[in-house]
Amino acid sequence: MSFLFQTEKLSKAYAGPVLRDVDFTLCPGEVHALVGENGAGKSTLCQIVAGIRQPDSGRMLLEGKPFAPLTRKDAEASGIRIVLQELNLIETLTIAENLFLEQLPNRAGWIKNAALEKAATQALTMVGMQRLPPGILVSRLGIGQKQLVEIAAGMSHRCRVLILDEPTAALTAIDTERLFERIQHFKAEKVGIIFISHHLEEVEAIADRVSVLRDGELVACLHQGEYQLDEVIRLMVGRKLDQSFHAKRAIGKRVLRVEGLQAPPAVREVSFDLSEGEILGFAGLMGSGRTETVRAIFGADQRAAGKIYVGQSNAPARIERPSDAVRLGIGLLTEDRKTQGLLLPKPARVNITLANLGSELLRFGGWLDRDKEASISAKWVQRLDIKVRNVEQTAVSLSGGNQQKLLLARWLYRDCKVLICDEPTRGIDVGAKFEIYRFLNSLAEAGKGVIVISSDLKELLQICDRIAVLSAGKLAKIFRREEWSEDKIMSAAFSEFGAGKVAA
């Protein structure tokens, strides 16, 4: 059988290798699913196929001929289309305008509304959304409907290869059903479909073949009906671990208890305890509600229900906003350094002291002692080995790892009892990563409670004492070091997603 599309030894590296010698094949009229953990390289592979990124080495063949798109437009001209995970719709335009933004039907600049509406209706019919009037604004749609519009935009053009990156993440069961019907039509027309999903049941139902990516390598390619789901999960996670970062520590008294936390729609039910000297990991897939959970605990977002106890107190703490949480000794190292953490154009000094401009830095009742501030920030710069010329260097001019260390310094200087770190090592180089593990370790050794959210399971296995697994907004299970395994954690991470689908 000849392949519609194939890759040969495709490789790509950023800081480290993301894809390694990937040989992937796609037959006409086939649905080929890609599965793997967060960061396994699924999205990167798809983006290379769609011309958004270029491989470092290896080549691609489309119908036997070499194919090397330099842009997404190139790939589209050759009949390869991608529907991306994140939404790229313009909220203030109508559905029809969004669908055909690149080539609005017009005469001398005036939009031909009738033609536009007709084409849009056709495209919407393809995804089973004919009941939506194409003239309404995208801002009025729910997230699932937006996803469908995005899919319609991808499907409304003729193509030979269609890539769907997590198309069902925000869809209800009915819409997913409808999408699958559409996919069957495409199959009949001999279009090859690459399908990424975290919902393994869906994959099992629709994919002719499943390829498993792990750390950038394609480790297995399985045919429909010839595998079990737990086998797929094992293939996704199986690897050796270096556990050298975890040091045995004395676990002390409780510092934080969360009971029945709810913050819909992302957080449905979360309860756990955190103790002094403990690092608790939060694992889960994209959309499992980890960030939303810690933001709700910290008071950054509204809670619908749930009690939070700080320290050994048996009375629930009043945390309405972040200032309450910080006063009670909780710190949050946010997921997005630039928009939620740093004062980018300001000096390192100002960034370090922001959360603790207290009595230590004051003199004459209210005036900031700048010399003191400079020497204290210089101390933290030295302790965390932050690469700056001096403490007056602006945050914007630092590398990602050093920016992260600035924020870590801010919370270390505040001296919180509980420090919550949301993706503390995202987008920073390996060296800085290991340093951050060391600091988190020493924090725990000093008797603080630490929560670490990470999409990198390997990282959590290296540094945590326990790992709490969230799945579709529920805390599915908490594993101790001696009882966890990657398979168990991954099954727990998938556990609630099927159930959530039915409920939605």
């Binding site: 910290f298 949480a325 980018l344 959360a355 900031l368 400079a374 020497s375 210089a378 030295q382 080995d385």
Partner: protein, 346 residues
């Protein structure tokens, strides 16, 4: 080999620390302010030089004291406006609030026969309350301050007409004594405004509150997630802006010996212009009260000089408008150069 490496890094970090302190001793707070203001001072001197050479009477004590006695109201309003712009807000209501406060001052003195001290206090308090309402609306309903204060611009003017019965209220000698009190040939309002400028600058650069203002204008979410509630800060800033409009009302009424419900119309834009000429960013996070003061002076010198040159109102306005835009363009390039420099050194 490892020894060598660790040795190196420890000397490197030590030098970071010493460099940090060294550079700070080098650059004290006052030095920083001076450095920031030098450009504006040069522009001011150039303007004065230009007008002195091109007119007969510009370079004289009379001209200078006229200018300096004219500016207190604008200076006071500019102080509040600088704070508001630094937190990435805007206050369009200051002109109307000024008129309302002036009306209250006039009514208090003339109809209620309050002692001057009490009437003045009432006037400033009224301004602060107006500002507080602005701030509370911005915070409570998360509205853009542009909208809230645009509403207050209209409502405040209406209230000013109500209070004064739409008539200019003659106050008389009672209030004139405020303006007549002078020191070194300059009026009391001028000295109050100068003290206000210095105090506000100190608060901005030297206190925790000032630091929070700058952080709030740079990245509100970062400040909030650092555990500092931005809401009271915003309310205080708008209250200060209102109170400054109240103080400005006293300055203006004492100069004119009357309270005019039409007073201060267009004042908000004049104040914003002065603050922007002073290099305060409309995007927030950056600004200087001292420079706003120089901004006020630049506009005042320009207007007086052009008048002495015999320029008519249309020309004066054209030139002033040009200077405002030119100042912002110069500032844009200055910041971009500073940013590029900090990248290069990375």
């Amino acid at each position: 080999m490892p020894d060598h490496i660790s040795d190196n890094s420890s000397t490197a970090t030590a030098s970071v620390a010493s460099d940090a302190r060294g550079s700070l001793r080098q650059k004290s707070q006052w030095q920083e302010i001076g450095e920031n203001s030098i450009g504006l001072v040069i522009v001011l001197i150039l303007l004065i030089g230009l007008f002195s050479l091109s007119t007969q009477h510009f370079f004289s004590a009379v001209t200078f004291s006229t200018i300096l006695n004219q500016v207190p109201a604008a200076m006071l309003v500019a102080i509040g406006m600088t704070f508001v712009l630094i937190i990435a807000g805007i206050d369009l209501s200051v002109g109307s609030v000024l008129a309302l406060c002036g009306g209250i001052l006039g009514v208090g003195l003339v109809q209620w026969h309050l002692p001057l001290f009490l009437a003045a206090l009432l006037c400033v308090a009224a301004g602060a309350v107006c500002g507080m309402i602005n701030g509370a609306l911005v915070v409570r309903f998360q509205l853009p301050s542009f909208i809230v204060t645009l509403g207050a611009l209209e409502a405040g003017r209406g209230a000013a007409y109500l209070v004064t019965n739409s008539q200019t209220q003659y106050i008389g000698s009672q209030i004139e004594q405020v303006n007549d009190a002078s020191f070194l040939g300059l009026s009391l309002p001028f000295w109050v405004a100068i003290i206000g400028v210095i105090l506000a600058q100190l608060v901005l650069t030297g206190t925790v509150f000032g630091r929070y203002l700058i952080a709030l204008g740079t990245n509100e979410e970062a400040l909030r997630l650092s555990g500092i509630d931005p809401r009271p800060i915003k309310i205080i800033v708008f209250s200060v802006s209102g109170a400054m409009a109240g103080l400005a009302a006293i300055a203006l009424c004492s100069r004119l010996a009357s309270a005019d419900p039409n007073a201060g119309s267009g004042f908000e834009l004049e104040a914003i212009a002065a603050v922007v000429i002073g290099g305060t960013s409309l995007m927030g996070g950056r600004g200087s009260v001292i420079n706003s003061f120089f901004g006020v002076l630049v506009i005042a010198v320009l207007e007086n000089g052009l008048a002495q040159l015999g320029a008519q109102e249309p020309v004066k306005r054209l030139v002033t408008g040009g200077v405002i835009v030119a100042a912002v363009i110069v500032d844009f390039y200055r910041t971009r150069r500073a940013e590029a420099k900090s990248r290069q050194l990375r």
